[in-house]
C-alpha cells in the first residue's frame, strides 16, 4: 500500500520520493514530510505504546508538543530514543522503530497492565511492596525497573559531533508564525540586528497549516514572501530548525540548531546540532498556541487527535488521517477543520459541538449540545459513541476524530523565571502574567491574540515597542488584510458520566480517575497533584493536558481554575540531546592539555605520563628490562641519591611580584617574614587561608630590591594568584604591588643529588661554587649565552638546584643536562620518584596540604609569626587549632620494610578492635622506604 491516505495539495515536493522504513516495513514519502505525516499518508496510525498501560498510541498532534508518537529514530550507535515522529523531518533512507512494546507494537505483552489498570492507580506503589523489607530491591523493584522507560540507548558512543557558539543581536524573535514574521519584518526593515528562530524546518507557523489568506495571497505564500525579504536583509539572521530552549538571566537565551538531523548522517566535520547562546538586548516571544483536547472515555486511541492537527495534516502535508472523519469541538475553531477537510474531499461524518449557540455548518451533520462519550478500536479508532443534546446516544463508524477543547497560548518560556501565567476568562486559557524574563515581551497567540490579524498587529506593535527601548525607530507599515474572527468557546474539559477512563496525560496514562483519587487523598495542591499522579511529567511536560487536570481538580475542590493554580514550565522548552549541551568537551577534548617544555623529549624517552590537573607530567621513565613501575621509580630514586637526577618542575606556579611594597605585601600573605630576605636569596614560605588552615607553600626568591619570584604548588597556582590579587586590590588597595604569572614563561628543572653542582658547572657559564652560589642562593645565569635563572633549593635531595630558561629553550636544556650528565650517570626522574624523595626528605605536599591541616598539624607552627598581621594568623590561634592533642603529620619508618602499607591506611594497635575510638591516625602518603602520616597522640 503506497500512500493510501495521501490527498491533493500540501507543501511537499511530490516530484521526489523518499524511501523509509518503520518497524522494518518499507514506505514512501516526500521532501517536506515529517515521519508522522508520511506514516499517516501510508495509512499507519499506530506508532507506539503508552508508558504504564502500554495502550496503543498514534499522533495526537502535528508538532513538538506531541506526547504519543515517540519512536526510535535511526539505528545502531545513532539510535535516538523517544523521538517525536511529528517533528522528525523525513529523509531518504530513514529508519524508525517503535518502542516500549514487546514483541511488537501490534501485540504488546505488557498490555496486560491495561487489564489490571484498576490496581495500577496513581501512587499505588506507595502503599504496598513493603513486606518483607528486603524484597523491594530483590523482587519488586527489578520488575518495575524492567518495565521502566520508553526508548532505549544502545550503550554505544554517540558517533556524531556537536558544536557550540555565541550570537549577539538587538532583537530575538522566537517563532516564525504570523506574529513572529510581522515582528521580524518590522524590526528588520528598521535596521535592527534581528535573529528569527523557529523550531520548524519551514517558517510560517500555522500559516502553513491553514487555508487562510493574508492580503490576497494564501497565508503560506505570504509567509514565504516575508521570509524571502528577511533573507535579503543583511541585518537579519534566519534560523529555521532552531529551538529556543530557555530564557536565562539578562537576555541570554539557549538555542539548539538541528544542523544535520534532516540528513541520513552529518557531512564530514559538520556537527549534528549546535548549541547557540544568544545574547539579545530584547526578545519577542511569538510561539503561538497549543490546542488542547477534551477528555472522554477511551479518548486515547490512534486516529483520535487534535482537530487543528487533523487539519494541518490535510493542508500542509496532503494527508487525510482517516476516510470517515468526525470532529468534537467546544469552539469555533473546530469548524474550520470540518470545512477544510470537506473542501479536500474528505468524508466528514459529523461535527459534535458541545456548544448550544452559534450557527450551523451548512451541508454537514452538525450536532449542537452534543459530546463524544466513548470510542472503540483495539489498535486504532473504529467507532465513536455520541451523546446528543436530547440525551440519546449513537455509535458511528469513524477512522479519525478531531478533538478541540480550545487553544492554550504557548506561555512556556514566560515562566522560565518562575512567573506564573494568569487566567483569561474569555479565552478559557492561561495567558502570560507579570514577572516574566526581563526584556521578553509576547506577541500573537502566545499573548492570547488568537486571530491572524491579531498576530500581525501585535507582532508589529511589540517590535516597535522593543526597538523604541533600544533607541531605535521602527515604522508601522499598513498591515495586509487577515481574518479577525472572535473567540467563541464554551468551557468543556471532560465528559462526565460513565465508568471508563478518560485520558489527560496519554503518555504517562494519567486519567480523570487518577485526579479524583489524588483529591480524595488530599493531594489537592497542584504540586501534589503533579507529583502524586505524574501528570505533566512525561516528555511533553503536559503541554496539551495539564490544564485539563487543573480543571478536573478545580471541579472537585469547588475552586476556580486560577484558584487551583498551575505548575510552571522549566527549561528546556523541548528536550535537548546531552551531546548538544556538552558540545566538543568530550573524550580527550573534555579539557585542554598542558604540556611541559620537556614533553617532546620525554615522549622520545618512552616516559609514562600522568594527569596532574590539566598538565601531563612524566610519572616515570621505564628502561629496557623494567617490567614494574617500582623498578623504574626505585632506580630513579637511588641514582639521584647516588649521583644526580633531573626532573621537569615547570608546572609549579611562578608569580612575579614587583613594587616598592612587595616585601611588606609578602609579609601579609605569608605566615613567615619575607621583607628581611636578602636580594639573591630565597626562602621557604608558608601561606595560610584566612581561617588559619594551611593554604599553600613554596619558595620565594628576591631577585631585586622590589622584585620577588614566588613559587606555588602546581595545584594552587591559579587560586594563589587570585588570592594575591584580592589582597592587593581589596584588602590593601594602596600597596605598591604588581603581579603577573610567569609559570609558562620559564622552563624549570630540578637538578638534585651529590653531583648536581658538578653537572651544572659544566653547562652554566658563571661560577656556581659553594661560595659564589651558597645554599638558598638565587640569581641570573647564562647557559651557553642563553639567559637563565638558578635557585639553590631542594625538595627532594641533599644538594639540589632548580635551573630555568625561557620556555622555548627548555627542550634544549634537558637535552644539554642529560648529555652533560652522562659522565655522572645522570638520570631523569618523574613525579613518582619526586614524591618518594620529598616524603623521605620530610616535605609535605598535596596529600598533606588538603585544606584540613593547620601549621601546627604539620609541625610548622613556629613559622606563623605573631609579630605581624598576616592572612590567617589570628584565626590560626583558635583553641581547636592549637590543641596540643591534635594530630601531627610525622615521618614514620616501618619496622618491617617488606610490609606493604597503602596511603589512606588507618593505624590501630595490634589486636585493637577496628572502631574509630581506637583510630591512631592514617597514612597520608607513602614512599618506597618511609611514610608520612597523620598521627593522633
Amino acid at each position: 500500500m503506497s500512500q493510501s491516505n495521501r490527498i491533493a495539495g500540501g507543501q511537499i515536493d511530490r516530484s521526489q520520493t523518499f524511501r523509509f522504513t518503520f518497524d522494518g516495513v518499507p514506505y514512501q514519502g516526500h521532501p517536506g514530510d515529517t515521519l508522522a505525516s508520511a506514516l499517516l499518508a501510508n495509512g499507519v496510525r499506530l506508532m507506539g505504546r503508552s508508558f504504564k498501560y502500554h495502550r496503543p498510541r498514534g499522533p495526537l498532534s502535528a508538532g513538538s508538543e506531541e506526547p504519543n508518537a515517540l519512536v526510535h529514530l535511526r539505528s545502531g550507535a545513532r539510535q535516538e530514543p523517544n523521538t517525536r515522529a511529528t517533528v522528525a523531518e523525513l529523509f531518504d533512507g530513514l529508519t524508525a522503530t517503535s518502542q516500549n512494546a514487546w514483541p511488537s507494537v501490534k501485540f504488546d505483552a505488557l498490555a496486560i497492565n491495561d487489564r489490571f489498570n484498576s490496581f495500577f492507580t496513581a501512587g499505588f506503589y506507595y502503599k504496598t511492596f513493603m513486606w518483607p523489607a528486603a524484597f523491594w530491591e530483590k523482587v519488586y523493584e527489578p520488575i518495575i525497573r524492567r518495565a521502566a522507560g520508553l526508548g532505549s540507548l544502545t550503550r554505544q558512543e554517540d558517533p556524531d559531533e556537536y558544536d557550540k557558539g555565541f550570537l549577539h543581536c538587538d532583537l530575538l524573535v522566537i517563532g516564525a508564525g504570523p506574529a513572529g514574521l510581522s515582528a521580524a519584518l518590522t524590526a528588520g526593515r528598521a535596521g535592527a540586528r534581528v535573529i528569527l528562530a523557529d523550531e520548524d524546518f519551514r517558517m510560517g507557523g500555522r500559516l502553513n497549516m491553514e487555508t487562510l489568506t493574508i492580503g490576497d495571497a494564501a497565508g503560506a505564500d505570504w509567509a514565504a514572501g516575508v521570509v524571502a525579504e528577511l533573507a535579503s536583509l543583511p541585518n537579519v539572521r534566519l534560523m529555521p530548525r532552531t529551538t529556543i530552549i530557555g530564557a536565562f538571566d539578562h537576555g541570554i537565551y539557549g538555542a539548539v540548531e538541528r544542523v544535520s538531523d534532516h540528513l541520513a548522517t552529518p557531512a564530514a566535520g559538520k556537527p549534528r546540532q549546535t548549541l547557540w547562546r544568544i545574547y539579545s538586548s530584547r526578545a519577542i516571544l511569538a510561539a503561538g498556541a497549543i490546542e488542547r483536547p477534551i477528555a472522554f472515555e477511551n479518548n486515547d486511541r490512534p486516529g483520535i487527535m487534535m482537530a487543528g492537527s487533523l487539519r494541518a495534516y490535510a493542508n500542509r502535508w496532503g494527508v487525510a488521517v482517516g476516510d470517515r472523519v468526525a470532529i468534537f469541538t467546544n469552539n469555533e475553531d473546530g469548524l474550520r477543520t470540518a470545512t477544510d477537510l470537506r473542501a479536500k474531499g474528505v468524508d466528514v461524518i459529523a461535527v459534535i459541538d458541545a456548544r448550544t449557540d452559534g450557527t450551523l455548518l451548512p451541508g454537514i451533520r452538525h450536532l449542537k449540545g452534543a459530546e463524544v462519550i466513548d470510542s472503540s478500536g483495539r489498535l486504532a479508532l473504529k467507532t465513536i459513541t455520541i451523546r446528543k443534546a436530547d440525551g440519546k446516544t449513537e455509535t458511528v463508524r469513524a477512522t479519525a476524530l478531531g478533538v478541540t477543547g480550545g487553544w492554550n497560548p504557548n506561555v512556556n518560556m514566560t515562566s522560565h523565571h518562575r512567573a506564573r501565567p494568569v487566567w483569561d476568562e474569555g479565552l478559557q486559557s492561561f495567558i502570560p502574567g507579570d514577572g516574566g524574563p526581563p526584556g521578553l515581551i509576547v506577541a500573537g497567540a502566545a499573548a492570547g491574540h488568537m486571530s491572524t490579524h491579531g498576530a500581525l498587529a501585535t507582532g508589529q506593535a511589540q517590535a516597535i515597542a522593543a526597538l523604541e527601548l533600544l533607541g531605535m525607530k521602527a515604522k508601522a507599515d499598513t498591515l495586509p488584510k487577515a481574518e479577525d474572527a472572535p473567540i467563541s468557546i464554551t468551557p468543556k474539559w471532560y465528559v462526565t458520566g460513565g465508568k471508563g477512563r478518560s485520558w489527560i496525560d496519554p503518555q504517562n496514562d494519567v486519567t480523570v480517575k487518577d485526579v479524583k483519587l489524588a483529591h480524595k487523598e488530599n493531594f489537592s495542591s497542584v504540586e501534589h497533584l503533579k507529583r502524586y499522579t505524574t501528570l505533566g511529567m512525561a516528555t511533553d511536560q503536559g503541554k496539551t493536558g495539564n490544564v485539563i487536570g487543573l480543571a478536573v481538580m478545580a471541579g472537585l475542590t469547588g475552586q476556580t481554575i486560577p484558584e487551583t493554580g498551575t505548575t510552571i514550565y522549566r527549561p528546556p522548552y523541548t528536550p535537548v540531546a546531552m551531546g548538544t549541551l556538552a558540545g566538543r568537551s568530550r573524550g580527550k577534548d573534555f579539557k585542554p592539555f598542558r604540556l611541559t617544555p620537556s614533553h617532546k623529549w620525554a615522549e622520545e624517552q618512552g616516559a609514562v605520563f600522568v594527569e596532574v590537573g590539566m598538565w601531563l607530567r612524566a610519572q616515570w621513565f621505564p628502561r629496557p628490562g623494567e617490567t614494574h613501575w617500582r623498578q623504574s621509580v626505585d632506580r630513579e630514586v637511588l641514582a639521584t641519591r647516588k649521583s644526580v637526577g633531573i626532573c621537569d618542575v615547570t608546572t609549579l606556579g611562578k608569580i612575579d611580584i614587583q613594587g616598592t611594597d612587595a616585601g611588606a605585601f609578602l609579609d601579609r600573605v605569608y605566615a613567615n617574614t619575607f621583607s628581611t630576605l636578602a636580594v639573591g636569596k630565597c626562602r621557604y614560605g608558608l601561606m595560610l587561608r584566612e581561617d588559619g588552615m594551611v593554604f599553600d607553600d613554596g619558595t620565594t626568591a628576591r631577585m631585586g630590591e622590589a622584585e620577588y619570584v614566588m613559587t606555588t604548588t602546581t595545584a594552587n597556582a591559579v587560586t594563589v594568584f587570585r588570592h594575591l590579587e584580592y589582597c592587593r586590590q581589596v584588602l590593601w588597595p594602596d600597596m605598591d604591588v604588581q603581579l603577573i604569572s610567569t609559570t609558562e614563561a620559564w622552563a624549570q628543572f630540578s637538578v638534585a643529588g651529590p653531583n648536581a653542582r658538578k653537572l651544572l658547572e659544566k653547562i652554566v657559564d658563571q661560577d656556581i661554587s659553594d661560595d659564589a652560589f651558597p645554599y638558598m642562593g638565587a640569581g641570573e645565569i647564562t647557559i651557553g649565552g642563553t639567559r637563565g635563572r638558578l635557585f639553590r633549593i631542594s625538595f627532594s635531595g641533599e644538594l639540589a638546584y632548580e635551573i630555568a630558561v625561557p620556555t622555548r629553550y627548555g627542550d634544549a636544556l634537558i637535552r644539554r643536562l642529560m648529555e652533560a650528565g652522562q659522565e655522572f650517570d645522570a638520570i631523569v626522574y618523574g613525579t613518582e620518584a619526586l614524591g618518594v624523595m620529598r616524603v623521605e626528605k620530610g616535605h609535605v605536599a598535596g596529600n598533606e596540604l588538603n585544606g584540613q591541616s593547620t601549621a601546627l598539624n604539620m609541625g610548622l607552627g613556629k613559622m606563623v609569626s605573631k609579630k605581624k598581621d598576616s592572612i590567617g594568623m589570628v584565626l590560626s590561634q583558635r583553641e581547636g587549632m592549637v590543641d596540643p592533642n591534635g594530630y601531627r603529620i610525622v615521618g614514620v619508618k616501618p619496622v618491617d620494610p617488606k610490609g606493604q602499607l597503602t596511603a589512606g591506611s588507618h593505624f590501630l594497635e595490634i589486636g585493637a578492635e577496628p572502631v574509630m575510638a581506637n583510630d591512631g591516625g592514617w597514612l597520608t602518603s607513602k614512599s618506597t622506604r618511609r611514610i608520612w602520616a597523620a598521627i593522633s597522640p
Partner: protein, 187 residues
C-alpha cells in the same frame, strides 16, 4: 663557554607552522617578544612620558595599538603587554628597563604565550564558534581576554579578516586543535 641552546616553538618544532583549512589560515608566530608593563603606584604620568619617548603606544581599555617598533595591548588597569620583534628584542626587559626605570614593573612574557594569527576573508562565522565576542560589531584594534574551549586567551582584532590569538604556551596543541576543528566544521 658551551654553545647556545636551540629554541623550539610552542607546537614543538624548530620552525613555526601554518595550517590552511579552506579559506582559513592559521599561522603560528614565533618572532615576537613580549613583556608586561605595569605602572607602579602613582607613577602613571612617568610611565606615559617614558612610553612616549620610546614611541611605545599604551592604548586604553580593551584596545591594541601599533607603533614603529613597539606594539601593545591593554590587559588590566595600568597594565599592558608590549610586543616587539624577537630578533632584535629577545631580551625585551633589558630594552624596556632603562626607559621606564622604577616607574613600572616590567616582566618578560615572551614564552608564556603561543601566538596564532588567523586570517580569512570573513572571520565572523569562526569567531562565533570560538568565543563570546560580538566580533562583527567590534572595531579593528579591539583587544580582549576570551575563553576558547576552556582555554584563556587574548584576542586582538586587527581587521574583519585578521585576528591575533595569544594562548597559554603549554596548551598550544590543544588550542590549535580547537581552531582547526572549528574551521573544518565551516567548510
Amino acid at each position: 663557554m658551551a654553545d647556545t641552546l636551540h629554541a623550539l616553538t610552542a607546537l614543538g618544532h624548530a620552525a613555526p607552522e601554518t595550517v590552511e583549512i579552506g579559506p582559513y589560515r592559521i599561522t603560528e608566530r614565533f618572532d615576537v617578544a613580549l613583556a608586561s608593563i605595569a605602572s607602579r603606584k602613582g607613577r602613571d604620568k612617568d610611565v606615559e612620558k617614558a612610553a612616549k619617548a620610546e614611541n611605545l603606544p599604551l592604548p586604553g581599555p580593551a584596545a591594541a595599538a601599533e607603533g614603529a617598533t613597539w606594539a601593545s595591548f591593554w590587559v588590566a588597569p595600568q597594565m599592558w603587554i608590549v610586543e616587539a620583534p624577537f630578533a632584535s628584542h629577545e631580551d625585551i626587559v633589558s630594552h624596556l628597563k632603562p626607559a621606564f626605570g622604577d616607574a613600572a614593573s616590567i616582566t618578560e612574557q615572551t614564552d608564556a604565550w603561543v601566538r596564532f594569527d588567523l586570517a580569512a576573508p570573513d572571520l565572523v562565522p569562526l569567531m562565533e564558534r570560538l568565543c563570546n565576542v560580538d566580533f562583527s560589531k567590534a572595531a579593528a584594534g579591539f583587544a580582549s581576554r576570551v575563553v576558547v574551549e576552556h582555554t584563556s586567551c587574548y584576542l586582538i582584532k586587527r581587521g574583519q579578516g585578521e585576528v591575533t590569538l595569544y594562548g597559554p604556551r603549554s596548551s598550544a596543541r590543544s588550542l590549535l586543535h580547537a581552531l582547526e576543528t572549528a574551521a573544518t566544521s565551516l567548510l
